[in-house]
Structure formats: structure tokens, C-alpha cells
């Protein structure tokens, strides 16, 4: 026990706190609701993972049309880091932290790990065929983002307008597939643009 200068004072202090603590009626906490929220949250994260896989799968299917066989390895390359980013409310997908990615223009067909330094996903052993890493275009204007994506060998997909957040109007707040994903050349990338 630490040196209590004066045990009486200590006792008075304890009593004061104890007494003070008894003033308010302790509120009721809704435990079942918390359990529900925790469960939903888990499901949401899981759902995010599934959505990412599905999105990637869709990208792959289109990619197959465009580029030929070899989709399976790509699907295996879903980076775990991409999962939370694709959660539902989309508070600015957190793709790669490196900011602006230098989109390495000019086809960049076989050498996938160009734009982003994310390690694990570059790996998938036999996926050395035509995949590219989606560059990060967050914060760029839409025309610029389109230019970067096409230069990286991707195509421009749907446009989704999002609002909220603190980004200026008209800039890219995310893509699907998210930046850092390895996808087949020609994959359409959905653009999410802030509308203020």
C-alpha cells in the first residue's frame, strides 16, 4: 500500500467518494440492444467482406470477357485491408494511405504492383497475368480521376454521387473496387464523387 499520509484523511476521502457516488440513481443500460448492435456490426463487417468479394467477382467476370481466362487467382487476392473500406455507409473508403499514387500510365499490364505499396496483395503466385492495381484517386477531380484510371488500364464505370463529409464538392471520395485492389485490366471502376 502506498504511503497514506493520514489514514483518517484517506477514510474521509473514501467515504466522501462513496457517498457522492450514491447520489444519482444508476441508469439502466440496455444490454440486449448492445448485443444486437455488436452482432449487427459483426454482420456488417462480414457483409462488407462479402460485398468486396462480390464486387471483385463482378470485376473478374467482366475482366474475363475482356481479357480471357484466369480469374480465380484474382479473387483470392482480396486484400483484407480492403474489407472495412467497403462497409455500407461509405464514409470515404480508406483505400491506401499513401495519398496520391502516381498512376503509372501506359498499360502497365503485367506489372501489377505499381501504384500502391500494399504488400500482401501483390503476391498471388500465378496471377502474373493481366491485372493492375487500382490507383488511388481520392481527392482528385472527376476528369482527372478518369484519366488516371484509364491510363492505368482500367475503364470508367458507374458514377455515384455521395454527400456529407468534409470534402469539397466534385472530388472523388472513393472507388469500387477500392484503391489497392488487383483487378484484371479493363475492369470498370465505379466512381464515388462528393456532392458537398
Amino acid at each position: 500500500m502506498p504511503a497514506t499520509p493520514d489514514p483518517d484523511f484517506g477514510k474521509a476521502l473514501t467515504r466522501a467518494m462513496d457517498d457522492f457516488a450514491s447520489d444519482p440513481q444508476p441508469p439502466a443500460f440496455d444490454a440486449p440492444a448492445m448485443v444486437g448492435r455488436a452482432r449487427r456490426r459483426r454482420r456488417l463487417l462480414l457483409g462488407g467482406a462479402v460485398a468486396a468479394a462480390v464486387a471483385l467477382g463482378a470485376g473478374v467476370t467482366i475482366g474475363v470477357r475482356a481479357t480471357g481466362p484466369g480469374p480465380r487467382q484474382v479473387q483470392a487476392a482480396t486484400p483484407p485491408t480492403a474489407v472495412p473500406a467497403s462497409g455500407l455507409p461509405w464514409p470515404f473508403p480508406s483505400s491506401d494511405p499513401s495519398g496520391s499514387p502516381s498512376a503509372t500510365p501506359g498499360g502497365s499490364s503485367s506489372a501489377a504492383p505499381s501504384g500502391t505499396p500494399s504488400g500482401p496483395l501483390a503476391g498471388s503466385p500465378s496471377a502474373a497475368r493481366k491485372t493492375v492495381t487500382v490507383p488511388s484517386v481520392i481527392g482528385k477531380s472527376r476528369p482527372e480521376a478518369e484519366r488516371i484510371l484509364t491510363a492505368a488500364g482500367l475503364t470508367v464505370g458507374n458514377l455515384v454521387m455521395l454527400h456529407g463529409g468534409n470534402l469539397p464538392t466534385g472530388v472523388l471520395v472513393g472507388t469500387q473496387p477500392a484503391a489497392g485492389m488487383d483487378v484484371p485490366v479493363g475492369t470498370p471502376v465505379m466512381l464515388m464523387v462528393s456532392e458537398g
Binding site: P5, D8, L13
Partner: protein, 171 residues
Amino acid sequence: VGSWQRAERPDFVEFVQQRSAALFRTAYVLTGHQQVAEDLVQEALEKACRRWRRVAAADSPEAYVRRILVNLANDRWRRAGRAAERFEVPERADPHDSYRQVELRDGLVRALHGLPIGMRTVVVLHYLHDQGPEEIAGTLGISASSVRSQLSRGVAKLRATSTDLPQLEGA
């Protein structure tokens, strides 16, 4: 304020029923503010719920959640900066207390809430929860010697504030 011992893995809902009041007391003494205390407990319980398996496997789930709680409080205070350091202790007259006791108690409690959050936490864990420096050190992730020095400085400050209060011995 007994610790919560059980043989079986406790159920979260049951835990909340049985222990949330004690956690709320801690939070209330620590913050001096009912709504803030409630929010803190709510947040701590939500966190605990998300990792309940781990919490339930702990020697004392209550101590585990209390650790979450006091660290949340400390984080929040530090983030809010010194401006938010002090919550006003609401005026109250407790009919069960004699006037003098209320005064003494409120003086001490007010002085307590004037301490920096880290020091305050140390004092609360020691005097309200009877925790020793090692245990407190483990809870807050600081050294035991730092706990000791904060404790003695904290008590000295509280003492200094309470010298002008009517006789201490009576309490």
C-alpha cells in the same frame, strides 16, 4: 463494492444487470457528472460487448471493463483538453446528510474534480476501489512509481483544499 467472482463464463446481459451500477458509480465519481458518466459506461459496455469472449475469460470481467472505462475517460479528457477538464459539481442538498457532512464531502469531491484526470483516476482507483499502485499501474499503463507519486501529490492537494473545511475528524 465487492469484486465479481464467478465460476462460469458470465453472460453479457447478466453482467450488465449486475455490474453496470458499480461501473456507473466509478464513472460518476471520476467525472462528477451524471450524463458524462452514463455515456462513458455505455461506451465501455459497448466495447466490452464486442469482445465479450475475451472479457468474460478474464479473472475479473468487471475489472476489465473498469479498465476500459477509466481509459476511455482519460482519453476523452485529454482529447478535450484542459478546457473541459473541470466539470461543475452540481449543487445538491442530500436530506440524509447533516449539513456539515455534505459540505465536507462536497468540498472533497469538488477538490477531487479539480485534479488533472490522470491524478484523479489514480486517487479514485486507490480510495474508491482499494487498488494498490501495481494494479493501478497495470490499469493505466503507467509505472507503479508514477502511480505512487501521483497518489501522494493528489492526496496532498486534496488535503490542502480541505484545511479550510470544518473539522475533518467528524466525517
